[in-house]
Subunit: 256 residues, 2 copies
């Protein structure tokens, strides 16, 4: 590994970018909480709109904030063993999935209690695709990267797809959130939204904060200087594999 | 360059993926045309909703289809000279920008004629950010990559940012389109959308086609085996630069 002042300067920037993601991610969760808790009357589990209000909060926590943080563990814990980081990655995603399922139950429960049809909107179509892909990705990722019997060659083949779909589902989750914001505003404040009322502006700002969070996370994980450096042990395995296949190493820093 | 059966198989897949993008992109343009032309009453330039109908069609053509195709020229014309491809890239973006400006004039013209407030929705906020970033990116790209006096080191520093923002703005444009679809449906068929009427289903399908187009374009340009291979002349310049800076070459296939 070469080391020069530019490289060191670049590495020094990483913690600031990580901090920015945490500020943006927490801001998104807090703004959603304020929107639902204050402007939309609070939270409940009684089939009323208060039960619906649980949905956006759980989705922003599970499918956006925790999802983003789970991706970032490969950059935050660059010097931990790869297995530890993989387990942390899978565990954070699992906690996010629990929040997502609660959010899903709350919206279906509210629709059922109020006789509102399900699954007709673009938001619901994108959302359900997102959650199905997320579950498939989690299970396939577990089998390929944490199941001890899986060969390095299979891991190496699958890794770029895992990274592509991982970021793709994350971006789709953010896009789906923006659709949810627009739907909720047009359902609840359609008369005043165009008058720049505080609730509408706050929800729009939430949309921009979600986009900023997503863009920063994707920037961090795709910037080549910040990719994970393999340990000497991983490097040895990777070189062995490279010799066998004359292709990319299975444990390169791409982030499996 | 190594060449093995796996590599050749992978290269053989590229034209199929390119074909898929063109089918998806044209499908998006046609579905938008059918939605606005048939279900929403056609096109016009008289301040009525027919003038508004020009907006989605121009945006899907300019900010999605042509934008995607402009990115793809680096993979479609892998063997042309880099300067030719850069000029094509800038030219397609410029045609897209013209379509985008027509789309922008049509929506502001419609709002003005109907006394509808501007710029209050999340769709409009994301859209205007998208177009401003697009213009800045186009001008800065022109200065860095087509202005003859620019040094290789500056080009090399800027290239990863150009690629990151280029794909980021493209994804934001697709997200903004989805917001526009949801807005238009809730403004025009809010009473029947939940009954799965043909117009609502068609517009939802348009949303999924746009997402599929975007995902396929991003997959093609980020797949490492499909990146542009430098010509021997470019390679020589790049090696010279690498020696000077001990960093990435300025004309690596990343796609400046």
């Amino acid at each position: 590994m070469e080391s020069n002042p530019l490289e060191e300067h670049s590495q020094g920037l990483l913690p600031w970018f990580i901090a920015a993601t945490q500020i943006l991610g927490l801001a998104a969760v807090i703004i959603t909480g304020v929107w639902m808790g204050y402007y939309q009357g609070g939270f409940g589990w009684d089939g009323s709109s208060l039960e619906f209000n649980v949905h956006p909060l759980c989705m922003v926590i599970g499918m956006v904030f925790l999802y983003g943080d789970s991706i970032l563990v490969y950059r935050v814990f660059k010097n931990e063993s790869k297995t530890t980081v993989k387990i942390l990655h899978a565990a954070i995603h699992l906690i996010g999935l629990v929040a997502t399922i609660v959010g899903l139950i709350s919206v279906f429960g509210y629709h059922s209690a109020q006789n509102i049809p399900n699954m007709y909107s673009l938001h619901s179509w994108c959302g359900i695709i997102c959650i199905i892909l997320f579950c498939v990705q989690w299970v396939v990722g577990l089998i390929f990267f944490l199941f001890p019997g899986m060969s390095y060659s299979l891991r190496a083949c699958y890794r770029p797809l895992h990274v592509y779909f991982g970021l793709g589902i994350f971006i789709l989750a953010i896009g789906t959130s923006l659709l949810g914001i627009t739907e909720k505003l047009l359902f609840s404040i359609s008369d005043t939204y165009s008058k720049f009322v505080a609730e509408g502006v706050l929800a729009n700002v939430l949309g921009l904060v979600l986009v900023s969070f997503g863009s920063t996370v994707v920037y961090i994980v795709t910037r080549s200087e910040w990719k994970r450096v393999s340990s000497p042990e991983e490097e040895a395995l990777s070189m062995h594999f490279k010799t066998l296949t004359e292709r990319d190493s299975p444990d390169s820093p791409q982030g499996s």
